[in-house]
Every structure is written in structure tokens, then in C-alpha cells.
């Protein structure tokens, strides 16, 4: 089992003032390392509208490279605008995953629209930044990864990586909408696509990680990290029904692979679980693993899927 030392909650959106678009939530953290600081992207929400509905934006917080629990600066505005009327990202840009490519920073993000029979649909958009990741320009006003016969809806949670000479995109694809207590809840599984250019994608077209707790287990945040000759995937999973509390809420799982395609799940190695009390006592979710000055960190969400912010843990030992 890996051993993670929890460093506590690092960022609390409720502490930030003067930003109407940043009132609650700091979801799906994603790190980009700079010379003196680490830019951690997250997704947040203004207050809900009169009908209780949210939109979501993505933004970043810069933390001290020498002590990543110390906040230096919060972005003054969202990194992406919401889409125009009828576009796939009209109601949200969540989550975002970034990677450097030459002098640019690339962002892949989940775009949200609202539907009539189910609450939402999600598709993956693509944008680039030429100002070190402060603002991003969309490559088009439609998604970069289309729906296909076996991936009919809810394509979201992108994680972008570049290994060798190939771009890899891990993401989730909706399998079904399951009606629970009269309300449709999405079941989604971890999938992968690869691309020579990050624009034209070939889907692997199968579930990468077996379901463990039930057939309709929902899996999210497939975060892949290369270390000691292996690819390590940390992700999160939950039950399909009544998952908004401690018993059936998100936990962090683990799988590893030698070829990026075949993955062996072994959640007993993940090494991070809910705490007895405090901000992550009910759930742990949306892991993101990154290396900083020869130490490995995990950013993750706690209770209520990041409503009150994200935290950090530091690996003791190595991933093998």
C-alpha cells in the first residue's frame, strides 16, 4: 500500500472575496509547475440561480513551490468563457486538465449543457493559452471528442497527457442514466483515446478499469502518472445510487499498467481514504498526482465533492 501523508485542506473558495464567479466549490485540481510557483487549476461556481441551478467556471490558484500549502495568488477571472447560446459548454466548463506543448499550454475541459429529460450532458472541449495558462482560447465552438455509438453521452472529466510522441486523453463516458428515487443519475466509466496532434482522436472503445463495488459503479478522474517504469492511475469511484453521503460516496481507487492500454485495478494499494473527522471525513475524490522537486503530491477533494475546497497529500516512499 502506498503511504500518503495528508497535508490538510489548502484552498477554500469561501475565503476568497471580490469574485462573483467564485463563491463555492474548488473541484478537480490540476497542477502546472512554474519556476517559483505551482499553478493549480480548479473549477468553481457562483451562487446558484433562483431555480437552484449552477454554472461552473475554471480558474487557478498559484501556490508556493517551496511550500505548496501556501497560497500566493488567485486568478482575477476565469480562464475560459462559457459557450454561446445552444453550444455544448453554455452552462459550465468543468473540469479542466492542462499540459505544456512547446510555448503553449493546452487545456481540455468538460463543457456542460442542460437537457430536458435528464439534467445535463457533457462533452470535451479544447483550448490553448499563449500567456502561460492565464487565459485560454477555444479551438472551436464545438467539442473536440465526439459522441459515438458506444459512448452516447456524458463525455467528461478529461485528463490530458503526452507520452512518447502521442497525446493521451483519459476521460469518462456515460453508460446509462439510472433513475433513482425519481431522479436520473448518470453511470460513467473510465475510457481512453490517443492522438498524434491532440485534435484527431482514436478511441480505445472499452472500459479501462473493471467495476468493483457494483456493476453500475461510477468511475471518475482517471489521473495517470508515470513512475518507476509503470503507469499509475489514481481515480475515484462511487455507488450509482444514494452516493451523496459517507457510506456510498466517492473513494479513491488505483490501477497500474505497463502499456497504457491494459490496466490492473488494485484499490488496496491506493493508500488514501476518508479521515475520521474534518473536511475529508465523508468522501475523497478527484485525485491528481504530480511531482514537485522530487516529491510526489496528490491534490484531491473531500466532502461534498469539493464544495469547500481541495487539499494536498504527500507520498512517503515511492510508486512502484
Amino acid at each position: 500500500m502506498f503511504k500518503w501523508k495528508k497535508l490538510g485542506k489548502v484552498f477554500t473558495p469561501q475565503d476568497i472575496e471580490g469574485r462573483s464567479w467564485l463563491k463555492e466549490f474548488a473541484q478537480a485540481p490540476c497542477a502546472l509547475v512554474f519556476e517559483r510557483f505551482v499553478r493549480i487549476y480548479f473549477s468553481c461556481r457562483p451562487q446558484a440561480d433562483a431555480k437552484g441551478q449552477y454554472v461552473s467556471y475554471s480558474a487557478y490558484v498559484d501556490v508556493d513551490r517551496a511550500d505548496p500549502t501556501k497560497i500566493l495568488e488567485v486568478s482575477a477571472r476565469p480562464i475560459l468563457e462559457l459557450g454561446a447560446l445552444g453550444e455544448f459548454d453554455e452552462f459550465g466548463t468543468y473540469p479542466v486538465s492542462v499540459a505544456r506543448s512547446g510555448g503553449e499550454v493546452r487545456a481540455y475541459y468538460g463543457g456542460w449543457t442542460r437537457c430536458e429529460s435528464v439534467p445535463f450532458n457533457v462533452a470535451i472541449g479544447f483550448a490553448t493559452s499563449r500567456d502561460e495558462g492565464r487565459t485560454f482560447t477555444k479551438a472551436g465552438n464545438g467539442p473536440v471528442l465526439p459522441y459515438t455509438p458506444d459512448e452516447p453521452f456524458v463525455l467528461g472529466g478529461p485528463k490530458i497527457r503526452f507520452f512518447g510522441d502521442t497525446w493521451y486523453l483519459w476521460y469518462i463516458a456515460g453508460r446509462k442514466w439510472k433513475v433513482v428515487d425519481g431522479r436520473p443519475e448518470p453511470v460513467y466509466k473510465i475510457r481512453m483515446a490517443s492522438s498524434p496532434d491532440g485534435i484527431h482522436w482514436s478511441k480505445t472503445n472499452r472500459d479501462l478499469v473493471e467495476s468493483r463495488i457494483e456493476e453500475d459503479e461510477a468511475q471518475a478522474s482517471p489521473d495517470v502518472f508515470y513512475c518507476n517504469g509503470r503507469y499509475h492511475m489514481f481515480f475515484c469511484y462511487r455507488y450509482s445510487a444514494r452516493f451523496r453521503g459517507r457510506e456510498r460516496g466517492y473513494r479513491i481507487g488505483y490501477a497500474s499498467s505497463e502499456d497504457l492500454t491494459h490496466w490492473v485495478r488494485d484499490d488496496s494499494k491506493a493508500g488514501i481514504d476518508v479521515s475520521d473527522e474534518g473536511w475529508d471525513s465523508e468522501m475523497v475524490s478527484y485525485p491528481h498526482v504530480f511531482e514537485l522537486d522530487e516529491r510526489i503530491y496528490m491534490a484531491y477533494l473531500g466532502n461534498q465533492v469539493g464544495k469547500h475546497g481541495f487539499g494536498l497529500a504527500r507520498l512517503e516512499g515511492t510508486l512502484n
Binding site: A84, T113, E116, P152, W177
Partner: protein, 318 residues
């Protein structure tokens, strides 16, 4: 070349259609058999939950002179999609063709949205009983929104020329409120994709293959292609993007373009042209053309007034 109108040939209100469908026979599409022609169309039931329409595929079999109805389908030709799927709220239209010993149905699936009324995508279904029923290959679409085709991918028309599957279809360029109180209206244009297998498609990604005649706010729909001699002919319909439902000056008309290479198309709506007929069933609108060949003749199926609420008609090429 000149179209000769043969009049309205099918009125859905005179037949018992399945699933509580009473009106509409939209976007007729032909599958020619040895001694009869099966014409698929989209008809409508009313969603009990909210009074909105649901489009369903049905068909009518007609004799090969296309004058006499042999029978109409009384079963479910293809069911609607599952909860949250792209074709949950309707299939309109479905394009059918024979290929590889099977009948393929390319569907335009509809699902409702909140800020705008709808989105569409293109699915594939296969029939193993000669076009009586169809089963989809998956819950999701084979052609959907992409970087430069952001919404409303629909109206497929597929033909195999040489070894290549060609699909002509439409994609939305965006939604717009033309006045502050108006519901959002969409604009769409005709695009093209190719495929080796009919499942995996490569789009031209946002290229509008037919030039606008009414300007940027022209909406183009339902491309239909036939080869006559060495020339490919496309028939489609076009209209203004708003105030097009009841204003006959802005409603659908039939357009035409020709190509020698399936790449460059030259628009020439008048040659051969088809126009509205004063005082007749198609006096205000002409839409959803479908061109096909039967017993050595080239026919055009199409809808008239009210988008086909009271059926479809036929013209023959002279």
C-alpha cells in the same frame, strides 16, 4: 431537364398509423423493391408528459407506378432512444439504402434542450428483415457535433460511389434570437463526410459545400444526391432562418446543385427547378426533397405546406 409534378400521393390522416400518430408524413425516402416501393417517412405522436411532439419512423408500400397504396406499417419500425440519448425525442428523418446484403438506416435523432429547443445527431441502424424493422448499432451517434460543427448535425443522406461511403448532412452554425422576445432560431448548412465502412466517418469539418443564395442567414436542409450520366445532382431545401413557418416568402423552397467530382458543387436552383403551385397542396412551401430512380425514371418525393402535416407528393424528371 424539367420536373413534372404528379401531385400529392400520400395523406397520413387517411390511414391508421402505429403509436397514436395521426398527422405528418415528413421527409419521404424510398427503398425500391422488385415490384413495389417502400417509402419511409416521419410521423408524430404527442408526448403525454408535456404535449410536445415525438417523431417516429413509419412507411407506406406503393406500387411501382407510385400511384397506389399497398399498405402502411402498423408496427414499430425503429423505437426511440433511451433516456438521455441523442434520439430520445424523435427520429426525423431516416435515410435508407441497401449495402452488403443489408438495409441500413441513417437516422437523425432529436433530443430536447433547455436554453434552445433541441439538438440532433446522426445514428446508424441496421435491418435484417428487408427494411421492416431496424436495430441501432449503439446507443450513441455515428456523426455528432465537433470543433467546427458545434450543434445540430442531422439530415443524413448516404450513398456508396466506388468504394467510398459518402454522407451529405447538415450541421448547425449557431443559435440566435432574431428579436428580444423571440425563441432562439438556428441556422444550418450542408456538409460532407466520407467513410470506408459506413460507421467511422471523416468530416470535411465545417466546410459549407453549397453556397448561400439568401445570405448568411440561409438555412439549408435535407441534401439528396443522384448520379445522372456523368453528373451528380443534389436536391435540398433552403429557407430564411427566422419567420419561415407561416410567411410563404421566407419558407422552404427546393434548391439544386451539380458536381462532376463530388467535391465542388455549383448551385443552380432553377435547372431543373420546382416551385410552389398557387392554390394547391404545395402553394406555400416545398421541403424535404428525396431523389431516387425506379424503373428507369428519376423521381422526386417532397413535402408541401406545413412541413408535411398532410403528406407528401411526387414529381418525375422529364
Amino acid at each position: 431537364m424539367k420536373w413534372k409534378k404528379l401531385g400529392k400521393i400520400f395523406d397520413p390522416t387517411k390511414f391508421d398509423l402505429p403509436g397514436g400518430c395521426a398527422e405528418f408524413a415528413q421527409s419521404p425516402q424510398a427503398l425500391v423493391f422488385d415490384d413495389f416501393v417502400r417509402i419511409y417517412f416521419s410521423t408524430r405522436s404527442v408526448d403525454k408528459a408535456n404535449g410536445k411532439y415525438l417523431s417516429h419512423v413509419a412507411f407506406v408500400d406503393m406500387n411501382d407506378a407510385l400511384r397506389e397504396v399497398i399498405g402502411v406499417s402498423r408496427h414499430t419500425v425503429i423505437g426511440l432512444g433511451k433516456l438521455g440519448c441523442f434520439d430520445e425525442h424523435g427520429i426525423f428523418p431516416m435515410n435508407v439504402l441497401r449495402h452488403g446484403g443489408r438495409v441500413l438506416g441513417y437516422t437523425c435523432g432529436w433530443s430536447r434542450r433547455v436554453s434552445v429547443s433541441v439538438d440532433t445527431a446522426i445514428g446508424l441502424a441496421v435491418s435484417r428483415d428487408d427494411g421492416r424493422t431496424f436495430e441501432r448499432i449503439g446507443d450513441g451517434p455515428v456523426l455528432a457535433a465537433s470543433l467546427r460543427e458545434p450543434c445540430l448535425v442531422g439530415d443524413p443522406f448516404v450513398r456508396v460511389f466506388g468504394d467510398v461511403h459518402h454522407m451529405w448532412y447538415i450541421f448547425g452554425t449557431g443559435w440566435k434570437k432574431f428579436s428580444p422576445d423571440a425563441a432562439p432560431d438556428r441556422t444550418y448548412k450542408i456538409g460532407h463526410a466520407v467513410s470506408d465502412d459506413g460507421v467511422n466517418w471523416v468530416k470535411e469539418e465545417g466546410r459549407r459545400i453549397i453556397e448561400d443564395r439568401l445570405g448568411a442567414d440561409e438555412s439549408q436542409a435535407l441534401p439528396s444526391v443522384i448520379r445522372i450520366g456523368a453528373t451528380y445532382h443534389m436536391f435540398f431545401c433552403y429557407r430564411q432562418s427566422h419567420d419561415f413557418r407561416t410567411n410563404r416568402e421566407r419558407s422552404y423552397r427546393i434548391g439544386h446543385a451539380r458536381s462532376d467530382d463530388l467535391v465542388d458543387w455549383t448551385r443552380n436552383d432553377g435547372d431543373p427547378g420546382l416551385d410552389v403551385t398557387e392554390g394547391d397542396w404545395d402553394s406555400d412551401m416545398l421541403c424535404y426533397p428525396h431523389v431516387f430512380e425506379c424503373k428507369g425514371k428519376v423521381y422526386l418525393l417532397y413535402n408541401g405546406n406545413e412541413f408535411g402535416r398532410y403528406g407528401f407528393g411526387l414529381a418525375v424528371l422529364e
